[in-house]
C-alpha cells in the first residue's frame, strides 16, 4: 500500500487547496532576530491554520558556512537517504553532513531531518551557472528520488517545516536555537492534503522561499507557461508555481523584484492611462510576454531571498496583508494583531494597494502608500 504520508495530493485533485496565515519580519540593518518572534506571531493566528502544516524560513542562519549551499533534507526511509546521499556525493563536495537537532516527541510520524553544507564539484560544474546547477540537482532529488525531499538549498538560510501547528513544528526543530535577520512563517489550512511534510510552506528553491495564502485560479496556465521554460510543477501547489515564477523572472530573466511583481500582478488596462508613457511601455511589454504568469485569484505572498523580503497581494487584494515598520524592522502579516503582539510600539502600519509590492531590503524600509517608478527601480538595481 502507498504510504499516504509521502503524498502531497493523495486524492489526485488538480492541485492542493488551502487557506493560511502568513507572517514575515526583517531587520533591514541585518541585526539578528530570535525565533520566538515569528513563533509567537504565527501562533497567535492559530485559527487560520488547522494543524496540518506549519513552517519557518530564516536568513542569516549559518554565517560560518556562508559560501556553502545549505541543504535541509527530509528522509522518510533509509533507502531514500542512501540514494540521495550518493547522488549528492556525486555532484557536490560535502563540507559537513549532520542530522538536525530535533525533538521527535513534539509531533507524530516525524521523518529524519538532515543538514548538509555543500559546494558544486568544479569538474562537474565546468564553469557553468552555479545556481542553475544547484537548482537542477535539487529538482532532480525532489522529482525522482523517492522518500527524500529538499526543504531548502540556498546559502546562509534554511527552511523548517512539517505537518502540525506551527508552534509544534517549531518545538520539533528546537527552533529557539536559531536566529536570522529575516524570518517568514506559515500556518496552513489545507482542504485536500492531509499530511505530507514536503508539501508544507515555506517552499524553497535555492535561496528563494515563498509563503502563500490563497488559491491561484490561473494555476493551470501558470503551470503550462512554466513548463515551457523547463519547470516541472510536481507538487501541484500554488506555492511551488509562485516560486518558479519568481525564479524565472528574477534569477533567470534578471528583472528587479518590483518589476517582476508587475508581471505577476499587473495593473488593469483601464488604469494604464494614469501611468507615464515609459511606465506604460514597461507594463505592456511585461503583460504581453508574461501574461501566462499573471497570478489570478486570491493570494497574499511573502517572498524572501538573501537581503530581501517582499509582500504582494493579488490585483484586487482578495487576501489580507498588513505591513508594519518599527525603526529598521519591517513586519508583514495576515493580521495586524500578530505584529502588535511581537512589536507593540510600531511606528507605522498600513494595508498595501492590491498588486503593489512592499519591498524590504537591507538598508531599505518601505513606507506607507509607496508606489514606484520603473526607472527608479532600475537606477537602484544596477
Amino acid at each position: 500500500m502507498r504510504d499516504l504520508r509521502l503524498l502531497n495530493n493523495r486524492y489526485g485533485d488538480d492541485r492542493v487547496f488551502d487557506g493560511c496565515s502568513i507572517f514575515g519580519v526583517m531587520d533591514t540593518s541585518g541585526g539578528l532576530i530570535g525565533a520566538d518572534v515569528p513563533i509567537r506571531a504565527i501562533d497567535l493566528m492559530r485559527d487560520r491554520d488547522n494543524g496540518l502544516g506549519g513552517g519557518f524560513a530564516a536568513y542569516g542562519l549559518y554565517p560560518e558556512h556562508e559560501d556553502s549551499y545549505a541543504f535541509h533534507i527530509m528522509y522518510s526511509s533509509r533507502a531514500g537517504q542512501r540514494e540521495t546521499e550518493e547522488y549528492l556525493g556525486e555532484w557536490f563536495t560535502i563540507a559537513e553532513a549532520e542530522p538536525m537537532d530535533v525533538d521527535p516527541s513534539a509531533l507524530p510520524n516525524t521523518p529524519a531531518m538532515y543538514r548538509y553544507f555543500a559546494s558544486p564539484k568544479a569538474n562537474e560544474l565546468r564553469g557553468g551557472d552555479t545556481e542553475q546547477y544547484v537548482s537542477d540537482r535539487t529538482m532532480k532529488i525532489n522529482t525522482s528520488i523517492g522518500d527524500s525531499f529538499v526543504f531548502s538549498s540556498g546559502k546562509n538560510m534554511g527552511v523548517f517545516k512539517g505537518v502540525g501547528h506551527p508552534f509544534d513544528v517549531a518545538r520539533f526543530f528546537r527552533l529557539e536555537q536559531y536566529s536570522g535577520y529575516i524570518w517568514t512563517a506559515h500556518g496552513r489550512f489545507p482542504t485536500n492534503t492531509p499530511g505530507w511534510w514536503g508539501g508544507a510552506h515555506p517552499f524553497g528553491l535555492l535561496d528563494w522561499t515563498v509563503v502563500h495564502n490563497g488559491e491561484i485560479s490561473s494555476y493551470g496556465i501558470n503551470q503550462r507557461f512554466l513548463e515551457q521554460y523547463g519547470y516541472q510543477c510536481s507538487l501541484q501547489t500554488d506555492t511551488e508555481v509562485i516560486t518558479y515564477a519568481v525564479d524565472l523572472l528574477v534569477r533567470r530573466h534578471g528583472l528587479p523584484i518590483e518589476v517582476a511583481a508587475k508581471a505577476l500582478a499587473p495593473p488593469f488596462w483601464s488604469d494604464m492611462d494614469q501611468l507615464c508613457a515609459d511606465e506604460r511601455e514597461m507594463v505592456t511589454a511585461l503583460r504581453l510576454t508574461y501574461g501566462g504568469l499573471l497570478l489570478n485569484g486570491p493570494f497574499t505572498i511573502i517572498i524572501a531571498r538573501k537581503g530581501e523580503m517582499v509582500g504582494l497581494t493579488d490585483r484586487i487584494r482578495l487576501r489580507p496583508l498588513v505591513v508594519g515598520t518599527q525603526g529598521n524592522k519591517v513586519l508583514l502579516s495576515s493580521e495586524e494583531s500578530a505584529m502588535r503582539l511581537v512589536c507593540p510600539d510600531l511606528d507605522e502600519t498600513w494595508i498595501p494597494v492590491g498588486g503593489e509590492p512592499v519591498v524590504a531590503r537591507l538598508g531599505q524600509v518601505p513606507t506607507g502608500g509607496e508606489t514606484w517608478e520603473g526607472a527608479e527601480v532600475f537606477a537602484g538595481a544596477h
Binding site: 493551470g220 503550462r224 499573471l294 489570478n296 486570491p298
Partner: protein, 500 residues
C-alpha cells in the same frame, strides 16, 4: 427530364388568416410562393422551398408555417432520405453537388462535452459588475523574455501587436460571396466593438477603406484585389491557405455574381468566373510559405502581423508548428464545421476535423516545442455561443472568429443556399435588389449587440472562475472537464473527466 425528387418542405398557409397581400410572393427568392392569377389566390410551389423562413418572418398575419415533408421512405438506416435524394439530384443534373454554409452532419461537437469550472468557498468568485474584468487581447508574436536597459526602457524588440477589446472577431467573408452591405455592417460593428473584420479574398472595396484600423485583409490563392494600397491599409494581413468547409479546395465565384463593382474590387473582368485555385501556385511547401510571409513583411516594412489561415486537417499540429517557424505571427485554424459561400457537398461533409481537437493539439504541440509565444492562435469554425468562446480559449485559443453566428445575427436562417446567389435574407448575394434587404446601420447594431452580449457572458464566466483577466483562462484546461468522452478524446483535449 421529369424530376423524381419529392419536395423536402411543405408550406402551410392558413386560409383563415391569409389576406392575399402577396408579401410572401415578393419576399421569396426561390419562387416557392406565387400568385395564381386565375384563382386570385396566393399558392406555393413547395418543391422550391428551402425553409429559409423569410416569408414566415414577413407575413403580416402569421398565416405561414413551413414543415418538413412528412413523406416517409421505407425505413432504412443505410439508404436514408438524404442519400437517396442526393443520388437522384446527381442523376438528374450530372456534376458535383454544391452547397453552402458549414457541414450539417452530426459529427461530435466537443464543446457540448466540455464543462467550465466555478469558484466555491476556497476562493471567491469575482463580480464583473463591481470589479474590472479584462478581455483585451493582443495578437502577434511575443518574445520569450523582456529585457530592460539601465534606465528601465524596454530593450527587447517587439513584433507588431494588434489589440482587440474582446477576443471575438469576424471571420473572413469576401465581397462577392457576401454583399457590400454585409461587409459594411461587419466593418462598422468591428469599429464600434474595437475588434476586427476580415475582407476575405475578394479585395477591399474603396468605400470600406475608412474602417482600415479594424480590418484584416486576405491574400488568397486567386490574389484577387491585392495591390500595394490593399496591403498598406489593414491591421493584419492574412494568407489564406484553406478553409474548414472545403480543405484542399479552391473557390468559384460564378460570373453572374461578378458585377461591375465586384469586378473592380477583385480586379478581374466583369462577368468572368472568379476562380481561386486550390493551392497557392507559389506555395508548394513550407519554405515557400516562408517566402510569401516575408515578401509581405518586406512589402509592409515589418509593421503588421502576418496571419496564416488553414483548415483543420489530420496533421494540423505539425503544420501549425511549421507555419510558426516559417514566420506566421498569427495562425487561424478553421474547423470542420466552418462555413462557406459555396463548396462541393462531398468535401464539406467529409473532409477536415473538429476545431476543438485541432485547437487542443496545436496549442499542446506549440507548447511542447516551446514556441507557443511566437504566434497567436485564432480558432474558428463552429463557435455558436459565449460558452464556446470560453471553452475555445481554455483549450488554448487567443481569440475566435465568428462567421455563421454573425450572419445569423443579420438574419441568416442557415438554409444552406448561399451558393445559389438567391439568399432571401440579402446576405449571400450580389443581386442589387436583394442586397437592399440588409441595412448596414441596423446590421451593425445587431452585430454589436451580439458580440457585446457574448463578451458580457464571457466576463461572467471568468468572474465565476475567480479570475479577472482573459490571460488566466487562455490555455487553462484545468478549468475544463469532459463528460461522455473516451480517454483518448480527453487525452487529446488535455482535460479530465468531470468528477475527477
Amino acid at each position: 427530364m421529369k424530376s423524381y425528387l419529392p419536395s423536402v418542405y411543405v408550406v402551410e398557409r392558413d386560409p383563415n388568416r391569409c389576406i392575399q397581400c402577396k408579401v410572401c410572393v415578393n419576399q421569396c427568392t426561390f419562387d416557392a410562393n406565387y400568385f395564381d392569377e386565375e384563382e386570385g389566390v396566393v399558392k406555393s410551389h413547395e418543391e422550391n422551398c428551402v425553409d429559409c423562413h423569410r416569408c414566415v418572418a414577413f407575413c403580416p398575419t402569421n398565416a405561414l408555417t413551413v414543415r418538413r415533408n412528412p413523406l416517409e421512405y421505407r425505413t432504412n438506416a443505410n439508404w436514408r432520405a438524404e442519400v437517396i435524394e442526393d443520388i437522384l439530384k446527381q442523376a438528374e443534373t450530372g456534376g458535383m453537388l454544391l452547397t453552402g454554409m458549414g457541414s450539417d452532419k452530426p459529427y461530435p461537437i466537443y464543446f457540448d462535452h466540455l464543462l467550465l469550472n466555478a469558484s466555491q468557498v476556497t476562493n471567491p468568485s469575482i463580480d464583473p459588475l463591481r470589479e474590472p474584468m479584462e478581455l483585451s487581447t493582443y495578437l502577434g508574436r511575443k518574445p520569450e523574455r523582456v529585457e530592460f536597459d539601465a534606465s528601465g526602457r524596454v530593450k527587447t524588440p517587439f513584433a507588431p501587436q494588434i489589440k482587440i477589446e474582446t477576443p471575438i472577431m469576424f471571420s473572413a467573408m469576401s465581397y462577392g460571396a457576401v454583399s457590400l452591405r454585409v461587409q459594411q455592417s461587419l466593418a462598422q460593428a468591428a469599429m464600434e466593438l474595437g475588434t476586427l473584420w476580415n475582407t476575405g479574398e475578394g479585395g477591399l472595396h474603396p468605400s470600406l477603406a475608412k474602417y482600415a484600423s479594424n480590418t484584416i485583409v486576405q491574400v488568397a490563392t486567386g490574389r484577387f484585389g491585392v495591390h500595394s494600397e490593399y496591403l498598406r491599409a489593414p491591421q493584419i494581413i492574412e494568407i489564406k491557405i484553406g478553409q474548414g468547409a472545403k480543405p484542399g479546395i479552391g473557390g468559384h465565384l460564378p460570373g453572374e455574381k461578378v458585377t461591375d463593382d465586384v469586378s473592380r474590387t477583385r480586379m478581374i473582368p466583369m462577368g468572368t468566373d472568379a476562380l481561386s485555385p486550390a493551392p497557392h501556385h507559389d506555395i508548394y511547401s513550407i519554405e515557400d510559405l516562408r517566402q510569401l510571409i516575408y515578401a509581405i513583411k518586406e512589402a509592409t516594412g515589418y509593421t503588421k502581423p502576418v496571419s496564416v489561415k488553414i483548415a483543420a486537417v489530420h496533421n494540423t499540429a505539425a503544420i501549425a508548428s511549421g507555419m510558426v517557424r516559417a514566420g506566421a505571427d498569427i495562425i487561424v485554424i478553421d474547423g470542420l464545421r466552418g462555413a462557406t459561400g459555396a463548396a462541393p457537398k462531398a468535401i464539406r461533409d467529409n473532409v477536415g476535423i473538429p476545431i476543438e481537437l485541432a485547437l487542443a493539439s496545436v496549442d499542446t504541440r506549440l507548447r511542447q516545442e516551446g514556441i507557443r509565444n511566437q504566434a497567436s492562435i485564432v480558432a474558428s469554425g463552429g463557435i455558436r455561443s459565449s460558452g464556446d468562446v470560453a471553452k475555445a480559449i481554455a483549450l488554448g485559443a487567443d481569440a475566435v472568429n465568428i462567421g455563421t453566428a454573425a450572419l445569423i445575427a443579420l438574419g441568416c436562417h442557415v438554409c444552406q443556399q448561399c451558393h445559389t446567389g438567391k439568399c432571401a435574407w440579402g446576405i449571400c448575394t450580389s443581386d442589387p435588389v436583394l442586397t437592399k434587404r440588409i441595412n448596414p446601420e441596423l446590421g451593425a447594431e445587431r452585430l454589436v449587440n451580439l458580440v457585446r452580449g457574448w463578451s458580457l457572458e464571457v466576463k461572467d464566466i471568468l468572474g465565476g472562475m475567480g479570475v479577472n483577466a482573459i490571460e488566466s483562462l487562455r490555455g487553462n484546461r484545468l478549468h475544463l472537464r469532459g463528460v461522455d468522452l473516451t480517454d483518448t478524446e480527453m487525452d487529446i483535449l488535455g482535460v479530465r473527466m468531470a468528477g475527477s
